[in-house]
Amino acid sequence: MTEKKIKRIFGIDLGTTYSSIAYVDEYGKAVIIPNAENERVTPSVVFFDESTVVVGEVAKESAKLYPNEVVSFIKRSMGEPNFIFEYGGERYRPEEISAYVLKKLAQDAQQHLGETISDVVITCPAYFGINEREATRKAGEIAGFNVRQIINEPTAAAIAYGSLDTTQNRVVLVYDLGGGTFDVTMIDIRKESVEVICTGGDHNLGGKDWDDRIVAYLVEKFQEETGITEDILDDPDTWQDLQLSAEKAKKILSQRPKTPVSITHGGKRVKLMLEREKFEEVTEDLLVRTVDFTRDMLEAAGQKGYSRFDEIILVGGATRMPQVSERIEKEFNIAPKVFDPDEAVAKGAAIYGWKLALNDDLIRRISEKTQKTFDSSGNISEMMDTSQITTRDFQEAARELAEDTGYALPSVENAMLRVKNVTSKSFGVVAHNPSGEEIVFNLVLRNTTVPVNVVKKFYTAVQNQKTVLIRTMESETSSIEIPLEHATEIKTAVLHLPPNLPADLPIEITFDLNDEGRLHITALETGEYRKVQVEVDTASVIGGEEFEKAKQRSQNLVVH
């Protein structure tokens, strides 16, 4: 018995400043689902209003009145172990706050579509490290989703871009300047695959920095006009007010050459005209940095043999600022395409989710047809490569699926799309150099294609050794050995060895970095080849009871 409809997997762009959700409709087209306020993007702002949690535009507007009850830009703190938002005696970690944003998106989308949302693909900046990705996944789980995959924002954008025209192969530079992060990624888009070649960026550089510069400028002007010398940003109300005014001003200046702004503080009011020229002057260095990151990335790509690219596409809301395209064109002699800056990422994620769903359904159909059991999470193209599935079985299943669902056959066949990613950071373990100093020994260097696994042998020191401790580190460098202080500790793994091992027995430790950029560690003792239990612990990502508590809290909570 074959079901007519396939399970929907939604794509979510969880942004620093705005988030959105998309799905692929019955015509195979990616569509953004508007929120309850009928907006296509929802501000990633959470307002704790006594017992209720409000997310979106209302929360953002509330920041002016209740600055201490509102959390914005939480994405910048993902994976930061010591960020705590306190409200009403409760402590919230970034994952949980992000979960509320996700919940709001899903709730409104459910309302709009009249169907339950369970499976999602969530995007994150390519530049996110292992912990930040893990934290993003945890946020999805706290919100109650089955998180099918975490994919990179530029990859998602490239998928959306690639889906427009599938005939042409090209190398694309995705310049993604979002609300809080900047990624620049070189992607090889082909008919059957989307392959990331190289990535770089800064997850503390985004539209917000442009806003902050306007805020700083306004403060200066206010002081100049009123003669007040105190830092008016010490007042949370003023800070929030200026932050919102700055964002508005930035948006207007992207359309018009000047905009009036008014600053009110302590009963004094200053009105001034902010000109685009001034705006560009006070933010020029930020733009220069994005260009510099782009050049660095190109250099790294060159080392991998990619010396040219065909197009530059600009995604992320901040690329709407005219100076971005102007500067890019001037620097790289190529007119960039501003591609659906606010929606491309969510749409790409939705397409990716849709392909996952098609993939699942095809496997189910083939399994039913051939009476064979397959790994339900397997990838159909890989199965064909390894001859687990014949081309004929696949084609038949694809045709049936297209008939049942009404999707066009070619798009169904596209479910075979392969996505190849690279890791944005180098990853290694703490070891000792010959002079006895602690160093980081990198096992996987940045911009290596994932999935990747590295096997490393370690030897037991004493007889009947109980455990081995491994400290895993992440860094931004491309060298094998680096000083400890240039890396960040991400996880500590403890291997619980089976009893009665002799001394000097090799333990094979496998570090798996999956295509999502998540790290798995497995180990095997080579005496009797027993699997060794590995316990991974990190304080940077919510876990254990705290995670369960957050999940519980989120379940009982209606987001407005």
Partner: protein, 785 residues
């Protein structure tokens, strides 16, 4: 780069330092929340992020007593240093020594010693002072650059003022030089936006850098190409070799600014101008203070001008600068009024003091009327005669004397009055004596000699005439003899019936009372007769005092006998006295030791030291045993007291906490949640050594028999965390960390043995701390019932 001091960062008092773990943890939690809120602040965000990342380190340092105390010390130092920057003084000293043209190595050494700085630093300052001529030139250039250009005459002036060549000055100027009056077409330079200036300044502050040049480690005279290259390198270096923390973000931002600003002469000039402006900021802040009321008072204005001159401005430049600044702020400057000729008001007008001295001649008429005086005397005498008692009569006569004391005209009469008084007084005294004698007669008859003597004593106190006093004294002596006789008779009676002690006491009392008594000889004989009897008494008494160890009483008995007799008994007692003396000496020493020990009250260690010192000094003393037993007694007391107070405190904590933990068996706490049994006291509290290595910890639990159980073991990290990290918490008396059963060997550390430890700070925000097994910690043993 030096990290911020945690005491200062957490705004905790450092002198005396806050050490309460709860207060500190609260401060951290408060700051964590505050920094988290400021994490995305437009201008304070980076600093907040930097602080958030420091939290684990802050917690590590502030929960470790030793590190924390170091931190407090550092905080005090920083505060002190901030308060009093000593560099000006050093520079002054250098200037003095440089007066002769150079500074010798010995002088450098001396300077470094005097100021507590290393010689390298002193050398650095000397170099700076040597360069100061050019520094001054640069400073003066920079100040004038604030307007965007220098004039030719300014350049000449600077050259002249610092005795350097004009070309030298010109070389150092990094902006256009305008011909005096001409070159009107040189437009003011593009100025760096103030908000940008602030962004740069904030980021530099975060990195402890003074300027973008400093950030790139290049001199201000570096050329554009070098600066560009360094900026780009800096950015790559940050990207390559650093974590994405606040410092990296700030470096990235600054590198971005460098790349933008050091692109052209124009943009660089704009930055240089802004640097110059920053240097003037100090003056600005002074002006701000002076203009706090919206106007600048004349005396302030003068000070500000002076300040500007100190900055290297010319007087007119300083005045111009201040005027411009005030104009921008819309403040008025009150100019000093023209100095008014001060009129000297000499108010010392001659005051003609007319002193009229009226000499009043006094005419004294001395009319003697002797007749009147005689009449007055006669009246007195007749009134005296009228009075009955002598004392009343004397009263009247005395009043006359008082009224006419010193009046020569009355001498005749007063003399007569005095004679009459004397007569009257003699009569009164005899009267009083007779009265007294009459009163004691019946007392004598009743053998109440003492009362009679008492009365006579009282009479003598009334200061009677000598003759009468002597009579009274004689009467007293008679009476005393009567008493002595009576006493002797009683003594004689006692000699027949009393105990040796009573007899001897009575003899002593007699001899004491009547050293010259009539029966003295007889009493002495009585005493001599008692030598045997008294010896027997003394011997029995000695037995008693010996058993009481009252050596002083024993010695006194011996001494007493020896004082009375010199016989064979006395010889025996002499030997015993020597023994008692020795015993007394020792007792005194012990008492002194005890007193000394007692002064330490409950500081048993010091008390024990008192005895230890004694034993060391007198190892063979007969008191050695006593001292030793005293030591062990004190040790026992110490242990008891410690354990008791610990147990008490702990039990009261236990009682305050919820009913999760209860002490069912003595010394054993049961966790109602897990059923696990915990030792009430941990290894440190139980007093079994302050801290234990991991190996010792193993032995400790193995040998533990608290509550009669012998299966105590080390808890797992999970078990320990369950009582300290999940409310209701196990009571905590002082912060420490505990060994757990979870141990590892880590490959990265050359298979060093690492053990999971858990601290006892309550709270859900916890992690396992891994420590080397050689470290020294505490054990809280557990068992499963």
């Amino acid at each position: 780069m030096e990290r911020e001091n945690f005491y200062l960062l957490l705004e905790l008092p450092c002198d005396p330092p806050e050490t309460d773990a709860r207060v500190i943890e609260d401060a951290i939690a408060k700051k964590q929340s505050e920094w988290s809120r400021l994490r995305n602040h437009p201008t304070k965000g980076l600093h907040a992020q930097k602080c958030i990342n420091l939290i684990p380190e802050i917690r590590r340092v502030m929960t470790d007593a030793a590190l924390r105390s170091k931190e407090a010390e550092a905080a005090r130092e920083i505060s002190a240093r901030d308060k009093q920057d000593k560099y000006p003084e050093i520079d002054r000293h250098i200037d003095i020594l440089m007066g002769k043209g150079h500074i010798t190595p010995e002088e450098v050494h001396k300077l470094s010693k005097v100021h507590g700085l290393d010689q390298g630093e002193i050398q650095g300052r000397i170099a700076a002072r040597k360069n100061q001529k050019y520094n001054r030139v640069d400073q003066q250039i920079t100040l004038r650059m604030a307007k965007g250009f220098l004039t030719e005459s300014e350049v000449e002036q600077i050259a002249k003022r610092n005795s350097v060549k004009v070309d030298e000055v010109r070389k150092r100027v990094r902006c256009p030089i305008k011909k005096n009056g001409g070159d009107k077409d040189i437009s003011p330079p593009r100025q760096l936006d103030r908000s940008l200036e602030k962004t740069i300044r904030d980021n530099l502050k975060l990195l402890n850098k003074s300027s973008l040049y400093d950030f790139l480690d290049l001199p201000e005279s570096a050329d554009l190409q070098t600066l560009q290259k360094a900026a780009s390198q800096k950015k790559k270096q940050v990207a390559r070799a650093s974590k994405k923390d606040a410092v990296a973000s700030a470096s990235n931002t600054l590198a971005g600014h460098c790349m933008t600003l050091f692109k052209s002469d124009e943009t660089r000039n704009a930055y240089d101008v802004s640097l110059a402006r920053a240097k003037l900021a100090e003056l600005d802040s002074d002006i701000d203070i002076a203009g706090i009321n919206g106007k600048i008072r004349p005396e302030y204005y003068d000070i500000l001008v002076q300040k500007g001159i100190e900055f290297g401005m010319e007087k007119h430049e300083a005045e111009q600068y201040i005027r411009d600044y005030c104009r921008r702020k819309k403040w008025s400057i009150e100019m000093a009024p023209k100095k008014r000729r001060r009129m000297l008001m000499i108010a010392g007008a001659a005051v003609a003091a007319v002193a009229v001295l009226i000499t009043a001649g006094m005419v004294v008429y001395n009319i003697q009327q002797d007749r009147g005086r005689q009449a007055e005397f006669d009246r007195l005498i007749s009134r005296v005669e009228d009075k009955s008692g002598p004392s009343e009569k004397i009263d009247l006569l005395e009043k006359f004397l008082q009224a006419h004391a010193g009046d020569e005209n009355y001498t005749r009469f007063t003399d007569a009055v005095r004679k009459r008084i004397d007569r009257l007084a003699g009569r009164a005294a005899q009267l009083r004596y007779d009265e007294t004698i009459n009163k004691i007669q019946p007392l004598e008859q009743q053998d109440k000699y003492e009362q009679a003597i008492e009365r006579l004593d009282r009479y003598l106190q009334s200061d009677p005439p000598k003759k009468l006093a002597d009579k009274a004294r004689k009467k007293i002596a008679d009476l005393e003899n009567q008493i002595e006789r009576k006493y002797f008779q009683a003594l004689e009676d006692l000699m027949l019936s009393g105990s040796a002690k009573e007899k001897m006491q009575a003899i002593d009392r007699y001899l004491e009372k009547y050293p010259n008594g009539a029966h003295r000889g007889a009493v002495r004989d009585m005493e001599a007769d008692m030598s045997g009897e008294y010896y027997i008494y003394v011997k029995t008494a000695l037995e008693r005092c010996e058993s009481d160890q009252d050596w002083k009483a024993c010695a006194d008995l011996c001494r007493d006998y020896l004082a009375r007799y010199d016989n064979s008994y006395a010889d025996q007692l002499k030997d015993r006295l020597a023994e008692y003396r020795e015993k007394i000496k020792q007792t005194r020493m012990l008492a002194a030791l005890k007193k000394k020990a007692r002064q330490h009250d409950t500081d048993y260690d010091k008390a024990i030291d008192v005895y230890k010192d004694f034993l060391e000094a007198y190892p063979d003393s007969p008191l050695a045993e006593k001292a030793k037993s005293e030591i062990s007694r004190l040790r026992e007391m110490k242990k008891n007291r410690q354990a008791q107070s610990t147990r008490q405190r702990f039990r009261s904590l236990l009682a305050q906490s919820s009913d999760r933990f209860t002490e069912k068996t003595r010394g054993v706490v049961t966790d109602s949640r897990t059923g696990l049994m915990w030792q009430l006291l941990d290894s440190a509290m139980a007093g079994e050594g302050q801290c234990l290595s991991y190996e010792e910890a193993g032995a400790y639990v193995k040998n533990s028999e608290t509550g009669g159980y012998t299966d105590w073991r080390l808890p797992t990290a999970e078990e320990l965390a369950a009582i300290y990290k999940e409310p209701p918490y196990f009571p905590v008396m002082e912060e420490k960390w505990y060994w757990t059963a979870d141990s590892y060997s880590s490959y990265s550390d050359g298979w060093r043995r690492i053990v999971d430890t858990i601290d006892n700070q309550p709270g859900s925000d916890w992690r396992v701390e891994r420590r080397d097994s050689k470290q020294c910690g505490a054990v809280r043993a557990v068992r499963k019932p």
